[in-house]
Subunit: 215 residues, 2 copies
């Protein structure tokens, strides 16, 4: 993670400053949210004045895109290392939740409200499909005894997103359910919609996971 490809001193310095900028950006996002991210404030924190940042990021959007990329990368890496150590869905789910709670705004940067015009670069959708592949692997390992649904048939015809993964339609469906259901509980928890209610979100998450594995 911290290794820098040995190149010219200039490039190493540049990479280090870019990393430091992102560090401050994450800090700021965690406390004030991504929409309030201010390049000026970051520059001031780093002791340099305003426009200097534009040597490192062409625009605010480019910085945020980089942060989104890093978030996807971090999620993919975290889930992959969790799935290699005994690939079961339950572990994957709890790893996901832990990752999300570690930095809620990072999760919401990926799965929260998008800017209407924004379209993610191709390499980001590539990382995202890497995550999907991990999920599909874990779902394949689990036996499924539920009968085929009409949607399974629909998925048999629309499985491009599986990127050549050999999972049968029922497994694709299971993966989608896994994704949407865990995201459902998790995003509502992170957005604070459970705060008024007094129950433990962790137990709701666990219950949802149990139900998901029992079907």
């Amino acid at each position: 993670m911290t290794e820098t490809k040995t190149k010219t001193p200039r490039e190493r310095y540049r990479a280090q400053v870019r990393a430091e900028i992102k560090e401050h950006a994450w800090e700021q996002i965690a406390t004030t949210g991504a929409s309030a991210l201010s390049l000026n404030a970051i520059a001031k924190q780093m002791g340099m004045s305003g426009p200097a940042l534009y040597r490192y990021y062409a625009s605010r959007d480019e910085l945020i895109t980089e942060l989104i990329r890093d978030a996807y990368r971090s999620l993919a890496d975290t889930l992959r290392s969790a799935s290699t150590t005994g690939a079961d869905l339950a572990a994957l789910a709890h790893t996901l939740r832990a990752w999300a709670l570690e930095d809620p705004q990072r999760y919401l940067l990926i799965y929260g409200t998008p800017v209407p015009g924004y379209h993610a670069p191709d390499d980001i959708t590539l990382i995202s499909s890497e995550t999907m592949a991990i999920l599909l692997d874990a779902c394949t390992a689990l036996p499924s005894d539920s009968p085929a649904t009409p949607f399974d048939a629909h998925l048999a015809d629309h499985r491009d997103w599986a990127a050549g993964h050999p999972a049968p339609p029922a497994v694709l469906h299971r993966a989608l359910s896994f994704w949407t259901r865990l995201h459902g509980v998790l995003s509502l928890e992170l957005a604070g919609h459970f705060t008024g209610m007094r129950f433990d979100p962790a137990q709701l998450f666990a219950a949802e996971l149990d139900d998901l594995l029992a079907c």
Copy 2:
């Protein structure tokens, strides 16, 4: 909806301008998202210059809070009128989806990424609990044959959020599942996370709903 309580002409004018401001605000939010909402732009659209808006809304935050309130109100009204005409969960679910697709940014204004510091006023949480009551009613009408889970027991001890609704814990659980699962599919669809994949989001939603009703 369009009725104005007959008061002084000044107050009627004021109410009308406030409504017009919100109209333009919704328009702008639908196209550029809530984070890019600009009071200046609204004022220019209405033919008056900048600071005049501050006669009607003390701040940008106050306007957005009002929009959030209206969104909650609209959702509650829509769901209520859908539940009175034959209260079944399937109709409620499809009404919810239709409402969300009608203006995705309106849905995301409620359930999307929140500003970390923001805390909704009490009257908003009140409207939200009204929506919850509608959901609980619909869930009560449905027979449930699933066995009691540990989370059901937990809910029996933490049912304040039901606001005195006489539903048994299993029904509370069902309502929560309904909410989180539908929100899971819906929010991912609205955020555009299914666009790359070619399947029909409506069918995934329907499949999720079927599974929800079958349990």
